[in-house]
Assembly symmetry: C2
Homo-oligomer: 376 residues x 2
DNA sequence: GAAGTGGTGGACAGCGTTGTCACCGAGGAG
DNA sequence: CTCCTCGGTGACAACGCTGTCCACCACTTC
């Protein structure tokens, strides 16, 4: 057993540094049955084609095609021979060649997002996959890591693969590169953020409304010094949420104070420092709105040991928010609803919907759990 | 603003029921610039081919190919004309046709897992994607939802698409269907669980060792009535962890009691009931080992309001475990390490590694945070 | 003037499929 | 016996691209 007992209480670790050199390796002797080829390995072997099957079965290639495609008009005995040959050779129809010849769709859609590893986007991915499954299509994903160049590479690569449609969480603001693709008939739907300079279907969440609501909610508990910790303002959602914050301040009649706003990019340290700064001095912040779930989590960690806590409302819901103490109030929106709405829009286009581009804004909900319901 | 203020404190909700019919829709009039085609839409248009480009540029198709592929020996002026034509027609090389002709790889690998939406697997996905990116390959994913039929469909579909390799989190125990594919030279690596009846590369985590360690850890704090809540025993990892639990009980000298084991499938209700049952009576459990992160979370929710809590160690780490009170002790293993190890193995095969199939067992780590360090 | 030489471009085949059309032999109608 | 139908089958081209090979046009060199 390679790991040892840890006697003490240690802080959170992601176990990212597990030492792979200490991994155990068993050889095949301890394993069972059914080796695919004595000594296995990826020897580069030409795959059997219909031609090979045809030769072996003593029929023409066309007959093989008929059998493979379940076309009528093949003598049962012939079909039998063909199937036996297929089995013997391990033949599997080459979909690329098929699609090429038929000029039909490739049965794939491309999904470009910021990071598949982020739970929010993996929820989106799952929803897209689910809808695509019903439509008989496969999903190819790629993570842009918020890099416009990478986004472009991915999207165009997908186009070269002739995806039937493209779902994109935009990383940048320039999407002119997609115009030829769209003109060529590839529908594109933008998710979570709009494209900068292209008119296309877009699915967003109500960033402004949600943040406004968060501020009003906090103000209704008597808070007048409400801070906002947001992501880098060149990210669409961050900027929108900042707008919502301003709007909320205005509507609550508490004024907008530059000094209460700290935009990112944020990491654990910067959030900690920002909170520290905001909460000292003569007129400290008594409440905080955090601009996304990463920032919320950083904030919670920074406040973990603190004697007093500001009231807190976070944008984005996250698992276990209800089990923390106090439970965290959030502006919730649903990754799978976002993915579903976008996929539905895409498939409507693929079904021939030629109406003008739509912009769908999904509602958000304030989920009050406790952290935001504290009197000033 | 479609949503309203929620005055009270409500319990956790996933916002899954957001009403899409209340979504706002803006028409394109409110949008900006650069419409791809006056009235857009996915009119099915034949995409420009090299032939079209050649005609327009007044050169042969081969010359276009040369330009597109940056081959030497094209007069700059000719290249210029070709590039202009490409631009005008929005031509983009068809990768399927190219790969078909060249007999080269499709530059894709297939990843079949249980659910992309699950944070653990999305971590795996991200790692696989990252490695694949370095190798210039795209990843196609599919979720089997623990259904062997679906897994098989996905894997074979991927093979039809001629993926260069396959990474599979097995849903069932029969994988003979992959033998022809493996024999045809498609390398397959199994992740997280072994295949039932095929010898192939496999990457696992140390399920037995981890659970044993959890039990010994709890026993070291004086617990002698340690319960185990595990997933359905036909799932490999669940069964292995049960084995580890037995082993731990044996080594701790506390005996194995059938009545302290409750295997799944589990949902929130069944976990709640199981815990309730285990903790009453004359000789109640004073400690619990939970068999995966879902079960751990269910257990935490069930215990949230309770007056007294059993000591708890969960298999699988999860975000925020350190911020709960008490912080949750876990057996941690790393999704991205798993994905990376599997991808590395796959690419080694693609690079020609013909050695016998390997089984890699990644170590796990006990991360003691508090919930498990409670005296009996 | 004949024979190389290097730079430029095209004709053609073929990757693995499928759509079109034509063929062949058996059987039924006239 | 001829004509026609019809089930079963195959030859062939083509999908979009690239590898091979060859043609052509200056030029240079003997």
């Amino acid at each position: 057993m390679p790991s040892r007992l840890c006697p003490g209480v240690v802080s959170f670790e992601t176990a990212r540094d597990i030492d792979i050199t200490r991994s155990r390796v068993c050889d095949s002797a301890t394993m069972t049955t059914l080796s695919p080829d004595g000594a296995a390995g990826a020897r580069k072997v030409r795959r059997a084609t219909m031609n090979d099957v045809a030769r072996l079965a003593g029929v023409s290639i066309k007959t093989v095609s008929r059998v493979v495609n379940d076309e009528a008009g093949v003598h049962p005995a012939t079909a039998e021979r063909v199937l036996a040959a297929i089995d013997q050779l391990g033949f599997r129809r080459n979909l690329s060649a098929r699609n090429l010849r038929r000029g039909s769709s490739t049965g794939t859609v491309g999904l470009v997002l910021e990071d598949v590893g982020n739970p929010f986007y993996s929820g989106v991915t799952r929803a897209v996959e689910e809808i695509s499954r019903l439509r008989g299509r496969q999903v190819i994903t790629g993570s842009s890591d918020e890099d416009p160049v990478r986004e472009r590479e991915l999207a165009l690569e997908f186009c070269s693969r002739r995806v039937d449609g493209l779902l994109i969480v935009p990383a940048g603001l320039q999407h002119g590169y997609l115009v030829p693709e769209m003109r060529a008939g590839t529908p594109v739907v933008f998710l979570d953020r709009p494209a900068g300079d292209v008119v296309a279907d877009t699915v967003l969440v109500d960033n402004v409304g949600g943040t406004t609501e968060a501020v009003l909610h906090l103000a209704s508990f008597g808070h007048r010094r409400i801070a906002f910790l947001g992501d880098a303002p060149d990210i669409f959602t961050a900027n929108e949420r900042l707008r919502g914050y301003r709007e909320g301040c205005a509507r609550a009649g508490i004024g907008f104070h530059e000094s209460l706003v700290v935009m990112g990019p944020h990491d654990e340290v910067s959030v900690r420092e920002a909170l520290h700064r905001l909460r000292r001095g003569a007129d400290p912040a008594t409440a905080v709105v955090t601009g996304n779930n990463r920032i919320t989590v950083h904030a919670l960690r920074a406040l973990a040991g603190a004697a007093s806590r500001p009231a807190l409302v976070g944008f984005d819901d996250f698992e276990l928010a209800d089990l923390l103490s106090p439970p965290v109030s959030v502006i919730a929106h649903d990754a799978s609803a976002l993915g579903k709405a976008a996929a539905d829009l895409l498939y409507a286009r693929l079904d021939g919907d030629g109406s003008p581009p739509r912009r769908v804004v999904l509602p958000v909900r304030l989920v009050a759990r406790g952290s935001g319901e504290v009197r000033a």
